[in-house]
Point group: C2
Chain length 267, copies 2
């Protein structure tokens, strides 16, 4: 709930300020779906990459200049900026140069494709949400398990709204953000929401080696996702069993359980 007090002491409800970003770029259908949900919850400002920035992880731009362009007109319901940087740059610029304050919520996505399990580490979508979390802003990354540019985001909108509302209402446990993944299903086939842990999985690389017209070797990075985790409390299990997965994600990477072991080592 967002309240503020008017000069005469009466309580007025204040609309929450919501920052929207992504990694597929500002024109992606996924971010358009997310914006259409967020306008039902608050005042929306969009700062998103001007080009696709998938798999950029937590990269920031320190060896190059950054450009910010207001792309919405004055009459628009939603204020929108495109940014030449990475998803993390977008969040930093939004807070520092556009909003000049911290929003009440930051949402990132809806990503075209999964960010479950180990994908969280490579994902620009999740890194943008993580950056907001580091800055103390409640944050959620949303992803749909459908890489198709024309994926059907309509099916998941009610869930996006419900999850974002709860986060606005309850905030989030300190130091955490949410990684939300949706199975590619019709609304009525989704069984519900499961709070999960990140499944243990890897990408098994396969480099596709080719030769340029000038005889020089080059490579394309491809790979196969391998789930190594049989647990039924994981995001991979939930998604395979028609549930929406929510993993609370932290940015304190300390492996606290390993400290005692290392203290027993003689260096």
């Amino acid at each position: 709930m967002y309240f503020c007090y008017s000069l005469n002491g009466s309580v007025m409800q204040k609309k929450p300020l919501i920052l929207v970003t992504n990694d597929d770029g500002i024109s992606a259908p996924g971010i358009r779906a997310l914006i259409s949900c967020m306008v039902e919850l608050g005042t929306v400002v969009v700062v998103a990459p001007d080009s696709p920035q998938s798999a950029m992880g937590h990269a920031i731009t320190i060896n190059n200049t950054l450009h910010l362009n207001k792309i919405s007109d004055e009459q628009a319901l939603v204020t929108e900026y495109s940014c030449s940087g990475t998803p993390v740059d977008c969040v930093k610029m939004a807070i520092s140069e556009v909003l000049k304050q911290k929003p009440d919520l930051c949402v990132s996505g809806i990503n075209h494709g999964s960010n479950s399990s180990i994908n969280v580490i490579y994902s620009g979508t999740m890194s943008a949400a993580l950056e907001a979390g580091i800055e103390g802003i409640p944050a959620i990354g949303f992803s749909l398990l459908d890489y198709n540019w024309n994926a059907d985001f309509e099916q998941i909108k009610p869930f996006v709204l419900s999850i974002a509302s709860r986060v606005l209402q309850n905030k989030l446990p300190e130091g955490t953000i949410l990684n939300v993944n949706f199975p590619k299903l019709k609304k009525e086939s989704i069984k519900g929401i499961k709070i999960c842990r990140q499944a243990k999985a890897i990408w098994q690389e396969k480099f596709d080696k080719r030769t340029t017209p000038f005889g020089k070797d080059y490579y394309w990075l491809t790979g196969e996702f391998i789930n190594l985790d049989k647990g039924e409390d994981t995001d991979e299990w939930a998604l395979a069993n028609d549930y929406i997965s929510i993993v609370p994600v932290q940015y304190d990477l300390t492996a606290h359980h390993a400290i005692q072991t290392l203290n027993s080592w003689e260096f």
Copy 2:
């Protein structure tokens, strides 16, 4: 200890295979210092970025081609490859295309500048080590708190050797890698090694706004590091008090403590 058995059953010591990478680029003095340490411990193969890749986080190259060039000659003690990709790409290419096996150890660095505290999230050096960890390889990221290109890495070499030896000997607790940071001090002024947790800190952004010769605004990302953590068990405390900090780092980002809270929410 690495042993293998010869055909007649006698035990022969086998040299461990060590992969070296970094994010400052293959010609940086920091990686040269690290290579000179590692040749004392095993057979060294270097696969490192052909240009600086600082602050690339866990970015990977999926929308562009990758190039790999062998830059050492046949007589060289150490085999070296430069790669056009990010630090994480280097580790993936090293395992899949260069070594065609998993090394016994992966070391990344020595970074010119700190990767303590929240820097671990943005760091290409640490992401390379993390990628090796995800692939099940014992891995260490080394960083010196001196951004200078001509930083004095000689002072820390004995500690680098000692830490890497211990990891080769003991392996690491499952699912963890090490984030090692060195204070900028003479060898004899370093008080020892502390096993630490990641300090809670943020970068407070300051965008340096400028105007192009053509009248268009652009920005440089700058910022100030702010330590919000008064704990004496953190990496920031250790470094400020003349200790080497070692933080065990994990890539399971699940905030396990938050699962119960979220389970009590009604979506």
